[in-house]
């Protein structure tokens, strides 16, 4: 049983760098579209790893099912809102950044 627990811990610790990279991307990227990528893609992968780690350490299948439902919901919501925000930005005629 210890193996699953340790594997879970490893997965969680693997997820954290994705979150941090997402945040660094958010802070340093030049314009809205690149920041959207950073935030949506990196953070979701991070959350995926955390959910995987937690489900490895979960004590029952219902917890695993609940965690997966939450992760799926966050995936759907963040991809849809990423699309909506990008469309809103385009409508406001914000020029994508191009290398000077």
């Amino acid at each position: 049983m210890g193996l699953l627990h340790n594997l879970g811990t490893v997965c969680i610790l693997l997820g954290i760098p994705f979150f941090i990279s997402g945040t660094i991307g958010l802070l340093r990227f030049p314009d809205i579209y690149t920041r959207l990528h950073a935030l949506t893609k990196a953070d979701n992968v991070g959350l995926g790893f955390v959910v995987l780690g937690l489900s490895l350490q979960a004590d029952g299948w219902h917890t695993v099912a609940r965690l997966l439902l939450i992760w799926l919901l966050v995936l759907i919501a963040s991809s849809a809102s990423c699309h909506l925000v990008a469309r809103a930005a385009l409508r406001k005629k914000i020029e994508p950044w191009s290398r000077p």
Binding site: A80, L84, R87
Partner: protein, 348 residues
């Protein structure tokens, strides 16, 4: 020294006032409202750290979800007004203005403002010192623990809300009903003209999220008896589904007949009141449920209240009474466009 969760608390406790300060100081109102919603979500995390799951649910659903959506729709309405105002360019179309007392602009004298700030600072320091002084005395926790057995539910907060202090919650549901009544008495809802279909992505998102929200609302009301949840939280998530439908301008929402809406608003308060009276008729005090079936009564009240709270909060977001069918409005005065209610004189 400080373990990780201690630092977590410190960071959270510092982030809240910092965010509050930046929120009020930010020049752009839209960003202020986004920060307000972020503050609500951070507040929900604080409630989790303070071991108050019910309040965390309510804060997330009502504080961040509903109130944020209310602010955004108010900001949108105000901006639309300022645009319309520019178009009118004060063409003098306004009816003769009611004689409004000219507002003496009390120039914010720096002295008075400084004095008030000083007074505020002294009082806050005094309050901080006295808070640090007095140890947190034992509240009613033990008393609730003893009587929890007869309350018919296992979750303490639901027991306090629905049974020990049920009268508070009865008046609470009346406050919500009163707010909806107030908003309906003020103005008629202005449904945005459907100039373009919501995008395919938004339509599918709404089709996916709204039923899930309604299911989660039912789950929260059901779980309220034994764990964190209950009428308010369930009702708030139900209202979030309503707000989502209103946001995406789903046509089915507009066809809801006004009578059904009125009954939806009045259902929860009316049922709560009737159960209170039935308890008296059954020989007990006001709101004294028969001990052995108290749980069933509480669940009945909670589900009715949750439906009404959901409808009320969604009606508050809509921001006005439904447009009456033309037959009832004998006066035929269908305020075209902006419902300019202002009619000077006539009624004082």
């Amino acid at each position: 020294m400080m373990d990780a969760m201690g630092i977590f608390d410190m960071v959270l406790a510092l982030a809240l006032p910092w965010l509050g300060w930046r929120l009020l100081a930010s020049p752009d109102l839209f960003r202020a409202m986004v920060l307000f919603i972020s503050l609500g979500l951070l507040m929900a995390l604080t409630w989790v750290r303070l071991q108050a799951p019910d309040v965390a649910l309510a804060e997330a659903a009502i504080g961040a979800g509903l109130t944020g959506a209310l602010f955004l729709s108010a900001l949108r309405r105000l901006e639309r007004l300022s645009e319309a105002e520019r178009r009118l360019a004060f063409a003098g179309k306004r009816e003769e203005e009611d004689e409004i007392p000219p507002e003496r602009h009390r120039r914010a004298k720096p002295v008075a403002y400084g004095l008030a700030l000083l007074l505020l600072a002294v009082f806050v320091l005094l309050l901080a010192w006295s808070l640090a002084q007095t140890p947190a005395g034992g509240g009613l926790g033990p008393a609730v623990g003893e009587q929890l057995g007869q309350s018919g539910v296992r979750s303490e907060v639901t027991a306090v809300l629905l049974n020990f202090r049920g009268y508070d919650t009865l008046l609470e549901v009346m406050v919500l009903f009163l707010a909806a009544l107030g908003v309906w008495s003020l103005t008629r809802v202005r449904l945005p003209l459907q100039d373009e279909e919501p995008g395919p992505v938004l339509a599918t998102l709404v089709r996916l999220l709204a039923p899930l929200m309604i299911m989660v609302a039912g789950y929260l009301v059901w779980i309220g008896g034994s764990r964190a949840g209950g009428a308010f939280q369930g009702g708030a998530v139900l209202a979030a589904a309503g707000v989502l439908l209103l946001l995406a301008n789903v046509t089915v929402v507009r066809q809801i007949p006004a009578a059904l809406l009125r009954w939806g608003l009045a259902l929860g308060p009316l049922l709560f009141l009737l159960t209170a009276v039935v308890c008296v008729a059954a020989g007990g005090n006001l709101l004294e449920y028969p001990p052995q079936r108290a749980g069933a009564w509480i669940l009945l009240i909670e589900s009715a209240s949750a439906v009404s709270i959901g409808v009320t909060l969604a009606a508050l977001y809509a921001g006005g009474r439904p447009p009456e069918p033309p037959a009832q409005d004998r006066g035929g005065e269908q305020g075209p466009g902006r419902d300019a209610d202002a009619d000077a004189g006539g009624r004082q």
